[in-house]
Subunit: 553 residues, 2 copies
């Protein structure tokens, strides 16, 4: 029995005790960070492989009207755990892990009238803005509407600047329809708009539209770059340097591709900054057993919420250059900066300003329509800017995305809305800017509220939320609680998070899902609930934590 | 110099002669099918690797205002052809290959006023319906509009049945917004609609909505299943049985994942049917050096346009079962059947009707909103139904798509439109059914027109277009033309297709991009141009072919 089964067999979570029993057996999902994953995976697979899945143990789905012969056949299934992609077994994605599955079950229980000490689940586990009540930006939705329903281009209900933008996009679609395939890298008109946006953002540093690839959110772009570097060199597996804590898309993808995750620790004491010594230590120690090829930096940070200083970025670029690493700059939160002393600097701009030889550094930067002030997660829009790649390598990258045809046109239109918003004086401007500012100032207010509230909790150490959408506090878990977690074979922070969920309905993600220094415990919570709900959440959290401490201290 | 470079260096194609010179060196793109790809790849890589890409040979993109020091640095790029994913170098995707790139250049030349024997390029290379003038189905676009712009739910301009459907979808979106993430497998309400659709289609054979995964078109689903089976067993690489000719997504993905493509030939003489002996021959010959795990069947066929008979499907299911193969049924053209004696049978229905043990066969079936009568290629909607998988394996599949978050909500709405169209008596029904029928009958008319016209060409053997959107004629290429192609190191069918493009503007895909029996030559053309344009295209084609034969016979 394992997490693997839990994913599809929610019933096992039906009681709190059962949750823990199931979770206890789920060694991979919420494992203590010090345990080597590989050994666990092997152990897990061995135990699973003992039970073969016979051909007819899974009868064809039926209806009452159709009788099925359920006699056991002897032939085993074609696909068994031991003969499928082993990387699928290793990979994990904590943001949608067992806690989130349990949260979904609790919601269904509440709907059925099951009595709980709370009346709703607060999903603070995922950066899903609209799900938490953020309103869509009118301009973006109008642009989508006019491109999908072009007969509305004659309607007096839509502003002229939006119509003009919609016409421009449609003029670049084959057959003037968003229903036709675009080039694999996206519509040229949108790629040009992205390049112009980047130039404005970076104070005139040039951007070539042919370096822009439109992607379905940032994730597919990140995955395609990680796949690109997957090559054994001198018998060594490629390694990817990722921050700890990190966004689990990276760990999941690295595991999926069978590469080596090379951890470097962010410095919690100095506001989750990076330092070159730590990067070098990680590189040197890991290059013995793998071939580090790329360095991932997330700025503003997820889950850590820091905004890197320019000096810090300079250091990182030098390090990447000196060690011949491809730099992946995950800059999807570039519009989410709240701290008045922080400013977003793009890696590209800093690299350019550093001059030779650094400006020739190979860099890929990612942006998405899912974050910022748009928060359009479901539409799947994004882009990557690919800089200084060898042309042959870039051609291979282009070729590799060709068979996937193209990213969704809805996402491409959303990207256009992001990079080419209404300008002052245009009919849509006032409404657009007021919606944008309202969303960003509400996020800023919540960033401060969450930081202030949690900082007052016993045993919490909380860095300010300078940017992004998350807080990542360090929590002191009393020895009695650690023992209780251990008895259930759970990581202490997962234990804490499960207790919080079951007693208050608040769903967060334990720090072990992102990585943390051994012996420390954290969690990630979004700052996305609407302010009233967030205040309620903070109060519930306070009560829970006080009781937890009373119980286990 | 290679195809690889050509992809980004369109300038090399600037003259006709140059096109051929470049293409001649492009051994991989249009290689004669009998040449082993692996040797070529090695040769290609060796020649490319001689030229390292120095760090500053690719200066940071610049504007006049920014001066760049262009002195050569000595450090090489992090990413070179020899240290990137070797599978990216091997993979090819002919539907967007060098002919299509050249077609794009010709279009730009025409825009600039360059004199040509034609005034437009006819893109018959890709099943891109709207690009060829097919009109979107109003119902689908209205449903998209109402879900993206919910304030229009109060507008009298939209029919009530569409509003009701939009409200139902929004009620299943977190925060009632298509801007929020859905479950990784898609919105429950749409998955349930898909299951109901499949039950109706298959005359009541049950479908469980939890076996439905919504995907961004069919391609990502196919890729995730092929990735799932990627496992070395007893030191053998997994093999995937694909029809020859096949849709190049399969060959590209198999190459990308480093698996073995196990070819089985469709029988051209009997209308591109499959026969069990050929499947067995292919399996037996290939199992010596790889481990065949899956069998891909495309029905209706792409590029071949056949519709499999029920008897043929029975044979295939028996073969897959007896040889323990996962069955991948690519059924994206299931609504595109034109021949009055043909009927679409789903593999699932046939398998079910065959009873034990066949109904327990592991099967994945794919459908897309890009084909059929919708033709919404750019929106990226699709689903797969996954049957009889071992629950642990299914859990792994689910987990593997989790990190990709979800497919686009626009695509999910489009799937809803596909599987839950207006019913008789509902306000949208009349318009919907008339649009649907108009599209399908126009396609049927064109299928017949293309077949009839091409059948009259000297040296052509053309199977009827029973379904899908393509014709795949066998053409006799005269020895003199073969010699001319050989002199340019081109496959004869690629030579033919390039001559056609340059002299008439018609863009087709040579048979070598799909695979064909050695010594035979084919091409794939869509039947998508609007009827008037298609007639014009057929006439141009006739003139070209007559002249080609005159020149080379």
């Amino acid at each position: 029995m394992s997490r693997l089964l839990l994913q599809n067999h929610g019933a096992m979570y039906r009681t709190y005790t059962c949750t823990y029993n199931a979770a206890a057996m789920s060694t991979m999902a919420i494992l203590p960070q010090s345990t080597p994953t590989q050994k666990l995976t092997q152990r897990l697979r061995r135990s699973q492989l003992e039970k073969k899945c016979p051909s007819s143990s899974l009868p064809f789905s039926t209806k009452a009207s159709l009788t099925i012969d359920r006699k056991m056949a002897t032939q085993a299934k074609c696909l068994q755990l031991e003969n499928i992609n082993p990387n699928f077994i290793t990979m994990e994605y904590a943001v949608r892990g067992p806690l989130v599955i349990r949260a979904g079950e609790i919601e269904k229980e509440l709907q059925k009238g099951v009595k709980k000490p709370f009346d709703q689940v607060i999903r603070a586990n995922i950066g899903d803005c609209h799900a938490m009540g953020q309103q869509p930006v009118t301009f973006l939705r109008q642009l989508l509407t006019l491109t999908f329903e072009p007969r509305l281009l004659d309607s007096p209900d839509y502003p002229d600047d939006v119509k003009e933008r919609a016409r421009l996009i449609l003029s670049d679609c084959h057959g003037h329809s968003v229903g036709s395939y675009t080039d694999s890298a996206g519509l040229e008109v949108v790629r040009r708009q992205v390049a112009e946006y980047i130039e404005r953002r970076d104070g005139g540093v040039a951007s070539d539209w042919q370096n822009i690839y439109l992607t379905g959110g940032a994730s597919p772009g990140i995955k395609s770059i990680l796949s690109l570097i997957h090559c054994q060199v001198n018998g060594k597996t490629p390694g990817v340097m990722v921050p700890i804590p990190q966004y689990p898309l990276y760990s999941a993808t690295i595991a999926e591709y069978g590469m080596v995750k090379v951890d470097y620790y962010l410095d919690e004491e100095s506001g989750w900054s990076l330092n070159r010594e730590e990067l070098q230590r990680s590189f040197d120690e890991n290059k013995k057993h793998c071939n580090p090829r790329a360095l991932v930096v997330i700025n503003p940070g997820n889950p850590t919420g820091q905004v890197l200083t320019r000096d810090n970025i300079v250091e990182i670029i030098k390090f990447a250059h000196d060690n011949q690493l491809l730099l992946l700059a995950d800059e999807v939160y570039q519009d989410n900066v709240y701290d008045k002393n922080s400013k977003f600097y793009s890696f590209k701009k800093v690299m350019y300003e550093m001059g030779e030889p650094y400006r020739n550094q190979e860099l890929v930067s990612f942006l998405s329509t899912s974050k910022g002030y748009l928060g359009e997660c479901g539409i799947r829009g994004g882009y990557m800017e690919v800089l200084n790649l060898c042309p042959q390598v870039k051609a291979m990258l282009t070729k590799s995305i060709t068979a996937a045809l193209c990213s969704t046109t809805a996402g491409q239109v959303a990207v256009s809305a992001l990079v080419n918003p209404p300008k002052p004086g245009e009919p849509s401007y006032e409404r657009f800017i007021s919606e944008k500012n309202a969303t960003l100032s509400a996020l800023k207010e919540r960033a401060e509220l969450v930081h202030k509230t949690l900082s007052g909790f016993e045993g919490y150490k909380v860095n300010p939320v300078q940017g992004a959408m998350y807080v990542f506090p360090q929590i002191e878990i009393p020895p009695k609680a650690i023992a209780a977690a251990k008895a259930k074979n759970m990581a202490p922070d997962a234990f804490y998070a499960f207790e919080l969920l079951e007693s208050s309905g608040i769903c967060i993600v334990p720090g072990s899902g992102f990585g943390q220094r051994p012996g420390t415990y954290h969690f990630r919570s979004t700052i996305l609930p609407q302010t009233d709900k967030l205040k309620l959440m903070m109060e519930k959290f306070r009560v829970f934590h006080a009781e937890f401490m009373k119980k286990y201290k």
